[in-house]
């Protein structure tokens, strides 16, 4: 009988690990872990915008550093050109800033090193992820423009974000208070030495956020 009880206990121990919840961090590649989020302001007149301009560099900010930096490395050049290409496919025409573009696009990279992050959404992104109150973290905007601030909240995993904001330069009363009419985000872990190159993840993410924003098109 002792032998039977031993077998019984051994089988219980042997199967114990199967009751532990799986962690998708272990089964997904870095690109599969990325989430692409888009939001728009219903008052945005996307079909009437014809021209756009884009920041000439990428703005980097982190909760580990109080300094907000601009950069134009090789990955930033790829990021900007992918955005330009996506805008062109949507029918928008690129013009320099001094030629009165209808909209401006700012490109930001945000890094937060903590356990659990999520980003607030100016247009009321839903509470499906249980975003709670946390600490705010603003980031730089398009050239000299600053859109609605986004905030990163503690949630579950450490993350980075590529955030594109489109501001309306056509319809505003105060150039210091520009309205963000669209926002696209690629959320993921952008730390180096991952199995999928960051360039590919960012270009795929950018293409996805434009693809899922079907309202971004001109007449």
């Amino acid at each position: 009988m002792k032998k039977l009880i031993f077998i019984f206990c051994f089988m219980l121990l042997g199967f114990f690990p199967s009751c532990i919840a799986p962690n998708p961090q272990n089964s997904l590649n870095p690109e599969e872990k990325d989430v692409y989020i888009t939001n728009y302001d219903p008052s945005g007149k996307f079909s009437t915008y014809k021209t756009y301009s884009i920041s000439d560099s990428v703005v980097y900010s982190s909760n580990q550093d109080t300094i907000i930096k601009k950069a134009l490395g090789s990955i930033d050049i790829i990021t900007l050109s992918t955005i330009k290409s996506a805008m062109q496919q949507k029918g928008y025409l690129y013009v320099p800033k001094d030629q009165n573009p209808d909209v401006g696009i700012s490109v930001n990279r945000v890094n937060v090193i903590s356990t659990g992050t999520a980003i607030s959404y100016p247009y009321g992104y839903g509470s499906g992820y249980g975003y709670g109150s946390g600490y705010g973290y603003g980031y730089g905007g398009y050239g000299g423009y600053y859109g609605n601030p986004a905030y990163i909240y503690n949630y579950q995993v450490t993350n980075d974000a590529l955030i594109l904001q489109m501001v309306d330069l056509k319809d505003h009363t105060d150039p210091k208070k520009l309205k963000v009419v669209w926002e696209g985000e690629v959320l993921g872990d952008f730390s180096p030495n991952q199995s999928v190159a960051l360039e590919k993840r960012l270009t795929d993410g950018i293409q996805n956020i434009f693809t899922q924003s079907t309202y971004l098109k001109i007449n």
Binding site: S18, V35, Q212
Partner: protein, 208 residues
Amino acid sequence: MKKVNFLYISFVFILIYTSAFSQSNSQVLAGDKIFSVNYSLGIPNGSLHNFISNKMINGFNADVRSFITDKFAAGLSIGWNNFKEQYPRETYPNGNGSYSSVRTKYLSTAPVMLTGFYHFTTNKKINPYATAGAGIHLVTYNKWDGAFGDSKSSVKFGARLGAGVLVPFTDTFGLNLTARYNYAAFSYNEVKDIQYLDVSLGLYFISF
């Protein structure tokens, strides 16, 4: 999973083959105890099926029953069933916008039940019994979009009804096959009360 299925099927064949040439001659009496350990297939139903439709052999349970009379036994059952489903990248609408993710859903339930068993026979080639239990379920709900998750764990009341058979190989050892319909009063997001069928196959041991 294929490896598990192969092992499971092999296990069933070996035990059925063995049982065809064996039979217990001894009657289980009041005071005797039966221990059983089992693999379990979970088949989700109701809102759990809407949440995760996969049937999974990813469960395990064990019980001990003590015979109060020659036919009626009472005891404790413990175990767990895990349900998991993963979807390729999809775009989901959300307010004034949308998000795109690889979605993973997971639900685990670990019941601890006070259980009653009514055995119609205990000394035949196949000995059927009915079972009912009530107790608690430790439930863990997870839904991830990429690496972002929403989770909830809680302990809730649960109950079950089922039936099974004991197929003896020797006087003290045999095959246990049981099917139990489980209910747990757990509701969160799209899951409104948990219902699932667990079909379990394993071994039992009798302590006279």
